[in-house]
Amino acid sequence: MNKIDSKVPKGPLAEKWTNYKNSQKLVNPANKRRLDVIVVGTGLAGASAAATLGELGFNVLNFCIQDSPRRAHSIAAQGGINAAKNYPNDGDSVYRLFYDTIKGGDYRAREANVYRLAEVSNSIIDQCVAQGVPFAREYGGLLANRSFGGAQVSRTFYARGQTGQQLLLGAYSALCRAVNRKQVKLYTRYEMLDLVIIDGRARGIIARNLVTGKLERFAAHAVVIATGGYGNTFFLSTNAMTSNGSAAWQCYKKGAWFGNPCMAQIHPTCIPVHGEFQSKLTLMSESLRNDGRIWVPKKIEDAKAIQAGKLKPTQIKEEDRDYYLERRYPAFGNLVPRDVASRAAKERCDAGYGVGTTGLAVYLDFAEAIQRLGKEVVEERYGNLFQMYEKIVDDNPYETPMMIYPAIHYTMGGLWVDYELMTNIPGLFAIGEANFSDHGANRLGASALMQGLADGYFILPYTIQNYLADQISVKRFSTDLPEFEQAEKGLNDRIERLMSIQGKHSVDSIHKKLGHVMWELVGMARDEKGLKEAIVKLKEVKEDFWTNVRIPGKKGDFNTELEKALRLADFIEIGELMAHDALDREESCGGHFRVEHQTEEGETLRHDDKFAYVSIWEYRGEDKAPVMYKEPLEYEFVVREQRNYKS
Amino acid sequence: MSWLIKSSIGRKLIQSISGLFLILFLLFHLSMNVVLIFSHETYDFLANEILGANWWAIVGTLVLGLGVVVHIIYAVILTLQNWIARGRNRYASKSKTQVAWSSKNMFVLGVFIVLFLFIHMYQMWYQMQFKDLFGIEGVRHDGAQLVVDVLSQTWVLIAYVVAFIALWFHLNHGFWSALHTVGWNNDIWMKRLKRLGYFVSTLIVLGFIVVAFAVYLGYTNLLV
């Protein structure tokens, strides 16, 4: 095995990043022009990285699966972005942001990475404002902040309920400028399907032109994966329809390590599932928990009556309502971290107190907020979310409480990277949600945007130079090299095999089966028996897929069914690895909840003595079990505690 | 200044400015018409001495003619370009987007008004200023009487009223749209401009119609 080297610089926590920057190697401007970098993905991380690398003078090739970088799913983030600016003067600091993030991640993230994230958070806000991102402002003209789950300070910057959109459009505008100045070449409607390795280094990709269906080869000195997470393994998630794990997964199959695959986040405030035809779950911003109060009926008979449609929530008297988050977590109340809020909802619903026709929903009530603040203020804060809810559910949240239920939202796990955001394959980098690095076992709200932009604007553009400085004498590669030939052939064979199955089931119908297994057995609460069952069932799904899938149309054509099939083949394998990792991690931490390991109150119970590590999985071949390595998480600066959101 | 004809906003600026100029002319025209109701003598004096075949009137006529021609040419250019921009394939379903009818039919309304102008110019302007300038026989110096002669025919009255209504629709969109194009608009002024446009177009058209009816019914030269 390769030696695990996280390359964390020595020295005090607050000086590590500065020290690193002072001593890293740089590439001079004349040489930058001779170096090509492939960036796959155009979300917050990908777009900001591509634009910044282009500005620096590198020759960047940027790949986008949609018709425009502006469609990347970062656009859907609603609530906000954290930064340690301490503008509200409520005691925030870089250290506090670092600490909250580490704690929120249930002490399963690397200290140095998280500290760096908190450190550069302030520059992100400066950068975005300079680009013309219209953040919310106070009447005095200065930036406004709001509070968010898992924090006791107001450090979240926001642009109405569309923060992700505005930040992405900012990064996208920088990318547009770089494209205009010929610093970046943009490839839209392209999907990366394989990584090309030459002499042990990442040197290119094979991508499918989604319009023509042709496979194309691209060579570069380094490859950056910024393709987001793999939440769609669950079929129903808050991810976009094209969000997929294939780019990362193909890197894994070429030898890149996968870190903490089982760490998936369930978001507590989504619109509940309502039918078999459902294609995705819609997230309602977590910011709703600032003013909304979550409850279910106190009496089981009330819950039953509501489920049967005989009672309306407004008919339940105040004393018959169970505001269970406020009851269980007096200090944080409705603002506990996502994993805690999600499990608490599941606990109530499993006990039979759920509402809605399915009994799989809880109320998020604004009646008190409307009374306290007035309808105008509530409308100003959440108007667009209320409108969105009403369009989907056909209920008016100003008059009747919203119904919410948890859904898969984000994957903390991803390609393993060191402090430089480089995977174990030299020249292969992973940034944003695609890597595993900063959120540990659970991500706090408003931190994904922060991490994506931190990686893309302020971290990768430095660290990649430390690698590229050694590559200046390496000539541009020809895509006719046997390595490219071989990769393309392998891929072509795979596509041929898929097309030749011509079975009975559509890709989506098999994906739904996969999702069902994942949600029931590898979802919010996991146990040994279920996980073992999942592994068996996932094998069956895989078998079913490779014998029964039907892909209409031709391979060399615009063919969405083929695209989906290629992604699903990978999702099934990702699901298997998630189950293995979840089975292996016999503790509960953050988003990973093992039923066998909980406190008396039903909270996560970590076993720091045995599991304070990053699980790193290495691919060993089609029919071989993957191997797991452990990267120990030795905490030098923070003392691990039982997370406590009660007092 | 080639941007004026090369850029879309430049071309629309030309269309707007010429349109606004024509609205000003219509207001002037209306005031002349009103004079007719009160005094034929004053009307003829104004028509012959102040306007007539004087150099300033000729210049004015040329400028006005230029305005009309530019407005028509650009209407044709813009409409043609827009037709091409819509693409070769059209929607099968009819658009159900709720917009003001006039805004979609400015060109058709314009064509209608141009047709009317041919009749109107032949009946009035050709008989007076044109014949005068080119020494053609049968020049009419009794403008007031000419108007009365022409407008006492029922078909003429009907044609005029129909054209006026088309003009109302054209102006109702044209007025605020022109100001919008020159950039003089925002969320607050949008409503005001539309109301003002409504007022201006109604004033002009109602004025024309009232005068036309008054002439038809013989209520002119009232001060005599």
Binding site: I75, A76, R137 | N82, S93, W184
Partner: protein
Amino acid sequence: MDKDINIKVKVWRQNGPKEKGRFETYALKNISQGSSFLEMLDILNEQLINEGKIPVAFDHDCREGICGMCSLYINGHPHGPDGEITTCQLHMRSFNDGDTITIEPWRSAGFPIIKDLVVDRTAFEKIMQAGGYVSVNTGGIPDANAIPIPRDKAELAMDAAACIGCGACVAACKNGSAMLFVAAKVSQLALLPQGKPEAARRAKSMVAKMDELGFGNCTNTGACEVECPKNISISNIARLNREFLKAKFKD
């Protein structure tokens, strides 16, 4: 209350950019009114795949009304008959039992068809690349609070910045004009002090690119504003005109 309905959909099918297209009509049974319009199309595609036919290609991604990927001209409306939403947010409760729904791609010279209902909107990319940004490099930026911006200005900028680049404005416009799209970006950046230094350059180059790509001339019908899923006001078009004319007259 939501019911199950039986409907027919008349869908534009076209194999490729150069091929001739045609309408095909399909019958769908027991569609829940609680399902979204795109879920209805998913069901149609499932049905087509099971019948051994080629499914209908349509653009979609986030399915929550923000990415701007979905399009479709439905019964005479871009994004369908409901207001202030994208097609992915349209629900079948907007339709009744027995309806025949006509589904067409965006039609405009600026948006050529790729396949079936999928159109090529890279023209919007090119317009953005021509100047839809503030020219700042990463880093070396003053503190975010260094320039106070009046709240109403920031809010107006945000109103304009809400554009999702879906192209409904072009699809709705009888002139195939992209003015609302361009105006939204020019306005957002012209309203903010950060965007001021290159406001003139931006307005000129974005409009020039828009004209070059064959979009039509705006005649202020306001159809774009009516169909815009994000309620972008045509006041922005007046601001664009102002910015553009100011810039040109200054030259």
